[in-house]
């Protein structure tokens, strides 16, 4: 290595920092935000486990991060993480998944985790496309987009993932774009400590596949600048009309509810009750 100065976050990596993502891919920015948040948390990295789905964003922790990492089937990360958390309730478990992973094939596990309020930190990298498999439409791709599988333009309306998370009962819900990397770091740090299911959605650039759709192919900078322009904080958004919000990305921390029972703690309670009943 030419550069003798090591990155502050290098200690969290399994070896050299060497992402095979495309140039300018937002996944790396998200990876950094996650690791800074972990750095901020003061909790030993060994206490963290990562569960990731299949898709480019699955590669954020796998195999890179130097702690327990479980890289599972497409769409099922949350379900694996649920079992893991239930069996190892003292671990901090972070799930990373793409928008397709989370809301296409994995949509069911997603809403149920929200409902169960199990203490997982879900990082959903929403690049509004299937990156890994070559730019097909995702449930988050805007209406009328021309993707590999919608050559005539998409005819389906996209999900608002944070909105669904809220409706399904998630107790911590936030959204940022990669342009708000600093806020993202803070939010993830909060999400990690939140006692329940936290959903952090990140609108993130895929300059290759979604760049193509936007006719900004390979132009990560243009995409970031676009986020800068279109992002609007939820407090400000509340003051605006629906029409004024067209094409805007509402960002911020939407929900933070702290008095909802968390699943692993509830189960602990059941165990104690059952034990008492047995002993009686």
């Amino acid at each position: 290595m030419v550069n003798p100065v090591t990155h502050n976050l290098k200690k969290y990596f399994r070896g050299e920092i060497n992402y095979t993502t495309c140039p300018g891919c937002g996944n790396g920015i998200v990876a950094q935000a996650i690791l800074w948040a972990i750095d901020d948390s003061g909790i030993d990295f060994d206490n963290y486990a990562f569960v990731s789905g299949i898709g480019c964003s699955g590669w954020i922790p796998s195999p890179a991060f130097n702690t327990d990492v479980l890289h599972v089937t497409h769409g099922r990360a949350i379900a694996f993480a649920t079992g893991l958390k239930l069996a190892a309730p003292n671990m901090k478990i972070i799930v990373t998944a793409g928008d397709g992973d989370t809301s296409a094939i994995g949509g069911n596990h997603f809403i149920h985790a929200c409902r169960r309020n199990i203490d997982l930190t879900m990082i959903c990298v929403n690049n509004q496309i299937y990156g890994m498999t070559g730019g097909q439409i995702a449930p988050t791709t805007p209406y009328l987009s021309k993707t590999t599988t919608t050559p005539y333009g998409s005819v389906e309306r996209p999900f608002d993932l944070s909105k669904i998370a809220i409706a399904a009962g998630a107790t911590f819900v936030a959204r940022w774009t990669t342009f708000q990397a600093r806020q993202l770091r803070k939010t993830i740090a909060k999400a990690i400590l939140h006692p329940g299911f936290s959903f952090v959605e990140i609108i993130s650039q895929c300059p290759v596949q979604y760049g193509k759709v936007l006719k900004k192919r390979n132009d990560a900078v243009a995409m970031l600048m676009d986020y800068k322009e279109r992002s609007i904080n939820l407090k400000k958004a509340r003051e605006l009309q629906k029409s004024e919000l067209k094409d805007k990305i509402i960002v911020g921390e939407f929900v933070e509810e702290r008095n909802v029972p968390e699943l692993t703690q509830e189960i602990n309670r059941l165990r104690e009750e059952a034990l008492q009943k047995c002993q009686r």
Partner: protein, 383 residues
């Protein structure tokens, strides 16, 4: 008056309950499942018992989540199990494959029902024998046991946990609706008497290239939460868990080692029950509940001095082909009796037909036990 339930060392138990109690006896402390006839009683029972033994029960949103929860829990250190029927297994298959390649111990109970498709939930059938071995994509080995009584539902569930830990792999129990719902006397051992196979855990972090997978002698498992930095993926990987999806040699190695991990230990895994085979000219190959009709028939036939015996694989997978080959050298005919259209028949044939005749006794009515008379007639036809 006090209930006598807990003071006895025998009980009168439904197969499904015997299975659930067997799991608890084996140290199972995690159950995830989704209700389905005729397996639901296992979940019902464990939804109470799990918490009593300090474990966890969760009813998941579907069967895909059930198996995913089980595998996740196993990496979290739990002895984990799920139970379902054919439709649920179909949904689990993708992740069962992941369980195999990530070498994740767990037990999967299939209380088979009348199928295909939604079929007839309460009808006894042995329709999923091959699904358990070939249902997930790709070439892999699995261990599968076929109980034939409540006692075996209990015993083999313990055995399944032991095998799953010993070989770090998912293990199937292939039961069916009749066994699952049948009640029988079950002798309950003391836990102290049992030789339980506990998880062979990696003790300390061995560096980035630690060998945590793909050892024919079974690698130690780097259970999560112990600073072992486990690197686990369902993609093609090397001994250290690092993915490599472009070099066929890595794929080749993964498949072959995983396969050998089971096949080279067949002797330790495979259990056969042989009855009256010493002098037999005719052997009847059957398993699960069907074998009890076979044994009954043999009892009758033996009274008529017909030299017939029973060969019952308790282990269905890995398939006992060597044992069958040996058998084929001793008998003139093997009659295969299954409650399906002959799922294991080609495998018996492939193993035996160089040496002896193999014939199939198709069930008169699929979904019901053979009548002993049907079997006896066939035996007489053959001898």
């Amino acid at each position: 008056m006090e209930k006598n339930k807990k003071i006895r060392n025998a009980d009168f138990l439904q197969g499904n309950i015997a299975c659930a109690e067997g799991a608890i006896m084996a140290g199972c402390n995690f159950f995830a499942g989704y209700p389905i006839t005729p397996a639901s009683e296992i979940a019902h029972h464990l939804s109470k018992r799990m918490f009593e033994v300090g474990g966890t029960f969760i009813q998941t949103e579907d069967e895909i989540a059930a198996i995913a929860n089980v595998l996740g829990a196993s990496w979290g250190g739990a002895k984990a199990m799920t139970a379902t029927s054919g439709p649920g297994i179909s949904l689990m298959l993708e992740n069962i494959g992941l369980g195999v390649v990530t070498e994740t111990p767990c037990v999967i109970v299939n209380v088979q029902r009348g199928s295909p498709s939604t079929g007839s939930p309460s009808i006894h059938m042995q329709g999923d024998m091959l699904q358990s071995k070939f249902g997930s994509q790709g070439d892999y080995q699995i261990i599968a046991l076929a109980p034939s009584s409540s006692q075996e539902m209990f015993d083999l569930t313990i055995e399944a946990f032991n095998l799953s830990e010993q070989f770090r792999t998912p293990v199937f129990i292939l039961s069916d609706s009749l066994i699952g719902h049948m009640r029988e006397r079950v002798e309950l051992p003391n836990k102290e008497e049992l030789a339980l196979f506990e998880r062979r855990r990696l003790k300390s972090y061995q560096g980035i290239n630690q060998k945590i997978f793909l050892d024919e002698k079974v690698a130690l498992m780097p259970v999560f939460g112990n600073g072992l930095k486990a690197n686990v993926t369902g993609s093609t990987h090397k001994e250290d868990g690092f993915r490599n999806v472009s070099d066929p040699k890595i794929l080749d190695n993964e498949i072959k080692v995983l396969s050998n991990k089971i096949l080279k230990h067949k002797k330790e895994i495979i259990r056969i029950e042989e009855v009256n085979l010493e002098d037999a000219d005719v052997a009847i190959f059957s398993y699960g509940l069907s074998s009890r009709a076979v044994l009954k028939s043999i009892e009758v036939a033996r009274k008529e001095r017909i030299k017939v015996g029973s060969f019952r694989p308790i282990t269905i997978w890995p398939f006992p082909d060597e044992e069958i080959k040996k058998l084929s050298n001793r008998v003139k005919t093997i009659i295969v009796c299954e409650n399906n259209l002959g799922q294991l028949l080609p495998f018996v044939k492939a193993a035996a037909c160089e040496n002896c005749q193999v014939i199939f006794l198709p069930p008169k009515t699929l979904g019901t036990l053979y009548h002993t008379m049907e079997i006896i007639e066939k035996i007489k036809e053959v001898v």
